[in-house]
């Protein structure tokens, strides 16, 4: 596993906490795209998309290059993939669920112990 510095990871996860930005990464995983393409694809203004791309770029998840009047975006040098981010989101949902389940289970165990004692 690649080791990430805390700051980089922090920036990456902040960048990935947004569904549009995860979508942009997924899109760029398939093919490079211009900011205009991305704005259209995600039904958003150019300014809005520029902001999202900027966040991704600062996190190292996206690299951009200006050729003529077009700024092309591609996946950046950070190896933290969008898949890692989805998996983390998924893990947090299940993790939170199971932490609640722990509480229910503890209650059932306590109840069972009381019932056991009553039988004696």
């Amino acid at each position: 596993m690649v080791h990430y510095s805390g700051a980089r990871l922090d920036a990456s996860f902040a960048a990935l906490s947004d569904a549009t930005r995860r979508g942009v990464l997924e899109q760029l995983g398939r093919a490079d795209a211009s900011i205009t393409d991305l704005a259209e694809k995600f039904h958003m203004t150019l300014t809005g998309m520029k902001k999202h791309v900027g966040v991704l770029e600062r996190a190292g998840l996206v690299a951009t290059e200006k050729v003529g009047r077009v700024r092309t975006c591609k996946l950046g040098p950070s190896r933290l993939s969008s898949e890692t981010a989805w998996i983390e989101g998924y893990r947090q949902v299940w993790g939170a669920r199971f932490d609640e389940l722990d509480r229910v289970i503890e209650e059932l165990k306590r109840k069972e112990n009381i019932d056991e004692r009553k039988k004696r």
């Binding site: 990871l9 906490s17 998996i87 949902v93």
Partner: protein, 169 residues
């Protein structure tokens, strides 16, 4: 996992792990400090299930849950989304084996729905739960992972310290 973590497992929360087993599968594991029959009871008793399936930190609230937990029986979960719309999840139970195995379909997305298998295996006084989701294709799986249900979760929970442990391992 190191020995220190093992010795602490009774006092600290057990970890939930998620692993993409193949391009079409996701495997979630978690250990519970209870016998399998108690874990099974918490899964299969609707009043209990409702208490944990939608953690408070999730940006959704559960409006109703009905389940007929036996082979061929169905379930239906209805969520409130922003107080303006509802979202339903439903399917059928393919296998229900007391204390060890529950298999169900996820039919809300039609043909593309995943098959979920939960197995419970007792290990001493604990139970290892393995939840396995099999999707029709990688694209369908990825779409499920990026769907609204998981939006902003990383932000909501902010368990970055745990992420660091996972990634640094």
């Amino acid at each position: 996992m190191n020995a220190r973590r093992d010795s602490e497992s009774d006092t600290t929360k057990n970890r939930t792990t998620v692993e993409p087993k193949s391009e079409r599968e996701i495997v979630v594991t978690r250990t519970f400090n209870a016998p399998a029959r108690i874990v099974f009871q918490a899964w299969t008793t609707p009043e209990l299930f409702k208490r944990w399936w939608v953690p408070k930190s999730m940006p959704l609230s559960l409006l109703s849950y009905e389940a007929d937990i036996r082979v061929g029986g169905g379930y239906r979960l209805v969520f409130d989304v922003d107080g303006t719309k509802t979202m339903a999840f439903f399917g059928k139970y393919i296998e229900v084996t007391p204390h060890s195995r529950i298999v169900w379909t996820n039919d809300e997305s039609g043909e593309d729905g995943a098959i979920t298998t939960v197995t419970l295996e007792e290990k001493g006084d604990k139970t290892l739960m393995v939840l396995h989701e099999l999707y029709r294709s990688k694209d369908v799986r990825d779409a499920a992972l990026t769907s609204g249900a998981y939006d902003g979760m990383a932000e909501t929970f902010g368990q970055l310290d745990e992420v660091l442990v996972t990634l640094g391992a």
